[in-house]
């Protein structure tokens, strides 16, 4: 499994990335939505398309919601699962993200178990980790 972690905080990228690596993911990182879009296109050219994107909401240059909309507008990336990982916890924000095409929503702060539960829900956990 491959994952792209998108967050302007290096600390948060490292935390999410470490958990995902423990679950067997190969992880790449981006510091904002635009950088992530560029990585998606570059990755596509070299045959590296993520199964999962973990996306912060509030980021400079291009925020998480804009990124979700941009990915959903491109049929080349329709297989990519999009999960918001953000402090934005109001119902209205969650609805907005899901309506834009995000599949799941995880509110910061979160535990490794909470992330694992979301991945299991999305069918993205290897069997040995789910067991």
């Amino acid at each position: 499994m491959r994952a792209l972690v998108i967050d302007d905080s290096r600390a948060m990228r490292r935390i999410v990335g470490t958990i995902l690596k423990d679950f067997g993911f190969e992880v790449r990182e981006a510091g904002d939505g635009q950088q992530a879009l560029d990585l998606l296109h570059e990755g596509k050219a070299e045959g590296w398309v993520p199964d999962l994107c973990c996306i912060d909401w509030n980021m400079p240059v291009m925020d998480g919601l804009q990124f979700v909309m941009a990915v959903r507008a491109n049929p080349e990336f329709r297989q990519v699962t999009l999960m918001m990982v953000t402090t934005e916890s109001e119902t209205g924000q969650i609805v907005k993200a899901l309506a834009a095409g995000a599949h799941e929503y995880l509110i910061k702060p979160f535990t490794a178990d909470a992330l694992r539960d979301k991945l299991a829900l999305l069918g993205l956990l290897p069997e040995e980790v789910s067991a």
Binding site: S9, A11, T18, N58, M59, T87, E88, E90, K108, P109
Partner: protein, 164 residues
């Protein structure tokens, strides 16, 4: 023309709510078994702050303030670094900023109305607004001074409120 006076944070947010947010954030972000303890200790000579702005019906900042050495220790804990790995200034700014961001996001979620969260900033804490528009939690982490302040934006430089 009428001048609107927004409700101060003391009417919107109590100390227990701020503490409960810390109780959730510390173990998840800072580390298992870690806690912000609301028992004041003497403030250090030098402090550093990280904050995020909340813009909405209530406008202000959520500020985390501690000694630079405490900020470095917090960063090591957030990043789970082990010696000989050392954290640099960029790591500290990033980790303290993320702590303010997560605290700020959770504070925003309990405030009435729709608000927007700014990006984390680090440096000297922004000036406080009205005296009654501050909810401060003074305490400690691992015995070191740390405060979390939810404070209204300082008044317009002209000294008058902006007409709404």
């Amino acid at each position: 023309m009428t001048l609107s006076r927004a409700r101060p944070i003391t009417e919107l947010l109590d100390t227990e709510t701020v503490q409960s947010i810390c109780d959730e954030v510390w173990p998840s972000l800072v580390g298992d078994g870690e806690a912000f303890v609301p028992v004041p200790v003497a403030p250090p000579a030098e402090v550093v702050s990280a904050w995020v702005d909340i813009i909405g019906p209530w406008t202000g900042s959520v500020v985390v303030t501690c000694a630079p050495s405490t900020a470095a220790a917090l960063t090591e804990s957030v990043l789970m670094t082990r010696p000989p790995t050392v954290v640099d200034d960029e790591d500290v700014a990033d980790a303290l900023g993320e702590l303010a961001n997560v605290l700020g996001g959770n504070v925003k979620s309990v405030l009435p109305g729709e608000s927007r969260l700014g990006l984390p900033q680090i440096g000297s804490a922004p000036a406080r607004g009205r005296l009654d528009d501050v909810r401060a939690l003074v305490g400690q982490w691992r015995g070191n001074y740390l405060t979390i302040t939810v404070q209204g934006t300082a008044p317009h430089p002209s000294g008058t409120e902006v007409p709404q």
